[in-house]
Each structure stands twice: as C-alpha cells, then as structure tokens.
Amino acid sequence: MSSAYYGQFGGQYVSESLMNTLKELETAFEEAIRDEAFMKEYHYYLKEYVGRETPLYLAQRLTEKYGPRIYLKREDLNHTGAHKINNVIGQILLAKRMGKTKVIAETGAGQHGVATATGAALFNMECTVYMGSEDIERQHLNVMRMEMLGAKVVSVQSGSNTLKDATNEAIRTWAKKAEDTFYVIGSAVGPHPYPKMVKEFQKIISIEAKRQFLEKEGRLPEVVMACVGGGSNSIGMFADFLEEKEVELIGVEAAGLGIETGKHASAMALGRPGTLHGMKSYLLQDDNGNVQLAHSISAGLDYPGVGPEHAYLKESGRVQYVSITDDEAMAALSELCRLEGIIPAIESAHALAYALKKAKIMKKEEAILLCLSGRGDKDAHTIEAYFSGRGYLN
C-alpha cells in the first residue's frame, strides 16, 4: 500500500493540476521534518510564541465527584486559544521554506482562520481565509479578529455556505495559485500529505501529555480521549499512544440533536466511505452520493467527513469512536465551568461529556487523560443563547 493511504483510506483525489504541487509539498515536508534546524525553529516558536508546554491538570473537583482521576491536557491555554496554532506554525514555516509568499486557509468556526492569520502576521505572509457566508454571520467575533490580524476574509456563497464549501473554494483557489500560495489545512483531512503533516505538527500534544502523565503517575493512563470533527486535536492526542496497546483510545464525534434525528455530524457512526476534499474517508452522504450537511452546536465539529487515519483507526479497531449530543456536551461544559473554573470550547466539551459517562464504569484508581482542545470564549454567544433557551445560532 502506498504511503498516501491508511488502509483503504486517504489518497489524493484532486485534479491533475494539483498533483505536482502535492508532490513538491510532500518532498519539502519530508525534508523539513528530517532537518534539525527546521524542527528546532518549530519548537522555538511553540515554546516562545505559543506558550508550550501546556499543563496537564488533574481536575480535582471533577475527580472527587466522578471517581477516576481526570486529567486535562490544557490546549486551551495556547496562544489564540486552541491547539490549531501548533499545526499552523509548522505549516507556515514549511511554506516559508518552500519560498511561498501567500497563504490561504479555510475555516468553519474561525479558530483555524484566526490561527492562520496569526501565523501569517508573525511570518509576514499575505493571508486569505475562506469562510462560508453562514459561518461569517454566526462567528462574527472571529471574523473581526482575523481582519485585525491583517487577513482578508472571503465570504463563500456556494452550496451550504459553510465549512465544506469554504474548503471547496480554498481548493479551487489553490489549484489556480499554487505557484506562490501555500494552502494551510487546519484539520487532519485533505489529500496526502496533509493528514500526515497535521499529525506531525499536532503530535506534540501526546508527546507532552504522555511524559507529563508518567511524571505524575509513574504509569500510563487507562483511557485517552479527544473530540473528533475532522480530527486534528484527536490525532495529535492519540499519536504517541497508538503503540501503547493497553491504553484505550476514544474519539468523540458530535451527535447533534441525536443520531436518530439525522441532524448530526457523526461521520463514523453513520457515514460510508466516499471521496471529498481530496481524500477517501467516512462521509455523510445522501442516496445519490451527494454530501450531506453535518449538524452540531459546535461549529468546529460541524463537518460531514473525518480524517482518513481516523477512518483507518476505526476499521482496525485501535480507536473506538462514540458520539455525544448537543445537550450532553452543554451539560458537561457547564459542569467544567462550575467545578473547575474552566470555560471549554463546545468542541472539547463533547470529549468531556463522554469522559463523565465513561467515569461511571471506571475504578477510582484508574485515570482518564482528556484533550481540552480549546477555550470557550469564542462560544460565549452560543452558550448564552443555549442556556437562555433561545436555541442556538447554528
């Protein structure tokens, strides 16, 4: 099997005009990660600019209430408020190394857009972010942040006017302008080598978390979990544990209003293999093979597909994928606010909700290690609207 694949998933389902671009990218990426100077620079910025390493925090009141020891990997404490920046620093350094002067990105909730705009400002690159017109409406704060950082935000009006359409538009632009433009993909999706690249630049999460956990507990955790939209924080969180067969790995997708309602974002639960955005993976589709809209209160999990390595990890049985509804996630979010004084991103609250369920069947001396991928400031409007019973903006 070619390195572009994870089992039957992955590949390069893009137009002929991007094939040489992908090859150049792959060569440059493979060289860069073997170049000590490059990796040193990447780690320099992670430490000095992003603020790594992030703490591994034993959530004491959650632990008291729920039983097993619950550890939070605090990716929410990164600069820009989520794990997205880890990958952006890596990809933009690579773009610079390749001599590109412009970067483009797609964004749904705006977190990856903000991270890319941030990196572009730092490394003096021209930045354009594609965002669905629906998302621009509901994530206005992040649009302002991107513009403040000097990025141009392009409103995408095609299809469903959301993340998947913004991604289509970014791919179209890239096919046109690849000569001087680097496409920064934020999730563990897209054609090879993107899923591999995103994992490489996010695996720092599990490398740190594993070491920190060992230092604190002198052993490995029983369970490691993270939320899964496209799957960037989760692949980063799983990376260094994949070979530790005794550690149970769990990915948490969004069940939206409930999988049975059809309004959800659980590509693993109900999708079937298909091709979108340059990859073959599980995909929500209708009876004609057209891509179905995902649905979740969390804009970051609102994606009809999932990264190809996750599809493979599901098929191979190494990772178990489960889903959590909007209501369950919001209850967990509230719990974390009140018990620990941490307002999590709604995405991360999905992982937490499942952890609290799972805790009930675990022993007190066991431990859960959870990726708290982002903070909830960006979600303030959605959270307020939800709890005041006005439904939500999504």
């Binding site: 137009s15 002929e16 040489n20 299809g159 179209r172 073959k280 093979g289 057209n290």
Partner: protein, 265 residues
C-alpha cells in the same frame, strides 16, 4: 462495435477538420429539455457532448457550473436519471458521442461495477473524472477493461503536468483533455502564459487527438492554437448562453453550428 468517440474522431481526422465539443449540465432545464438539446446539438454538428452529472461539491468547477449543478440537483437529477436520459436518446436514434463528466464520489456511491455496466447499457462512450488523477484510477480502469464496450476514461492534462505527460498519455484513449488555464472551469480566456508551448509538448507525445478546454468562448479564442490542437471544448460559456436564452434549442443550435464552421474555416 467501435467506441463512438474514437469513430467520430477518426472520421474528423480523415476530413482534416477540428472537433467541436460542448459541455452542459445534465437535467437542465429539465430532463426532457436536456434530451432535446442533445439531439439539437447532434443536428447542429457538435462532434462530442460532455454531460455533467451534478455533484454537491464540484471542486474542479467555477461558479457557472457550480450554480448549474446546484440547480440540477434541486430538480432531482442524479446518476440514475442521467443514465436513463442517455438510454432514451439512444433509443430515439441519437448517435452523438456522449461523455459523462462527474466526480468520483458519485461513481463510488453507485458502485464501480454497477456504474460500468449501466454506462454500457445506456450507451455512454466516455467518462471524465476531474478529481480522479492518474494515480487513483486503477480500480476504475480495471473494471472498465473487463468489457470492450466500456466507456473510455478520458485523461486530463494541465499546464503544470510537465514530466507527468508521458505517463498520463501512454495508454490514453479517445482524446486528451488539455486544461488550458490553471484552476477551475469557466474563467475568462486568459490562457496560461506558456499555453502554446505546453500544447505543443502534449501534441508531440500524444498518439490521440488533443482537445483544449477551460475558458473558451468563441472560435477566435482558439485561433492562435489552432495549428496545434485537434479541437476544443466549450463549457461554462455554453451554459451561460443556454441560461441567457432560457435553454432555447435554436439558440444552442446556432451557436454550435457557427462555432464549428468558424473553427473549420
């Protein structure tokens, strides 16, 4: 029976002419109207017809074809109804070579084996899959090669294909689809800067006719390349024209016959 595309192109070559190929989105203005447009184009002298099977996420297409796809999906067009349409016009005696332009997921969902069988039954002569580059074609090619009645998988070449060209063309059949500009379908005729050199490079390697597409509006657009290429493809502009004239059969006929005449003056 010989493949209609190959037969037609051989005939054109014998006459020393250039081929004129159009693209339209299947199911517009509705299935019946679409069938009439196919037959009208055959009468007007269009040599090969590309029929776009609408998909929810057409990443290789510009705004015109995106909008047409969306509209057609809303009207209920799918692969099955498109196959039925081809079968119907074939029964009515229409012999124009028909190529399906579609995205890979549509085929994957339908099932590759089922798809090939259904194309043979309906009378589809070729398939263009813009998001299925050479490296990903094996599964589909294997299935196609099981029956000599199968449609031909048309190969696309882009201005940045460079060293890939010999590999792409080695076993290519039907015609080579040369994307003349970078990016997506339907941009204005600002052809890639070295387009002529690139077309010459393709022509040198190719054993089969070379067609140029993307961004062509009038036959004058292709005159500078006419000596090199064997024909051209008009897509987005043709759809715009159909929209403007509310899918009037006579307007389509007039455009096609005058383009083909101009091209072969």
């Amino acid at each position: 029976m010989k493949n209609r595309i190959e037969e037609k192109l051989e005939h054109i070559r014998e006459k020393g002419e250039k081929a004129f190929i159009t693209y339209m989105t299947c199911g517009l203005p509705d299935m019946e109207g679409c069938g009439q447009l196919i037959k009208a184009q055959e009468e007007a002298g269009t040599d090969i017809l590309e029929l776009g099977i609408p998909f929810s996420d057409p990443v290789a297409d510009g705004p015109v074809i995106q909008a047409a796809s969306y509209k057609s999906i809303e009207l209920g067009t799918n692969l099955k109804s498109s196959l039925n349409l081809v079968e119907t016009v074939r029964k009515e005696g229409c012999e124009i070579p028909i190529v399906f332009m579609m995205y890979f997921n549509t085929i994957l969902y339908f099932g590759i084996e089922n798809f090939v069988k259904a194309c043979i039954k309906a009378g589809v002569d070729g398939v263009i899959v813009p998001d299925l580059p050479f490296e990903e074609q094996k599964q589909l090619q294997d299935e196609l090669s099981r029956n000599e009645q199968s449609p031909i998988l048309i190969q696309l070449v882009s201005p940045v294909s460079r060293d890939r060209i010999p590999m792409l063309l080695e076993n290519a059949r039907g015609f080579v689809y040369c994307v003349s500009s970078m990016g997506v379908t339907g941009q204005a005729a600002e052809f890639h800067r070295d387009v002529l050199d690139y077309l010459k490079q393709v022509k040198e390697v190719s054993k089969i006719p070379v067609m140029m597409g993307f961004g062509i509006r009038t036959y004058e657009d292709v005159l500078p390349m006419k000596a090199v290429i064997d024909g051209c493809i008009v897509g987005s502009h043709f759809i715009n024209l159909l929209e403007e004239h509310e899918y009037d059969v006579n307007a389509a006929k007039e455009y096609c016959s005058s383009f083909r005449k101009g091209l072969n003056m």
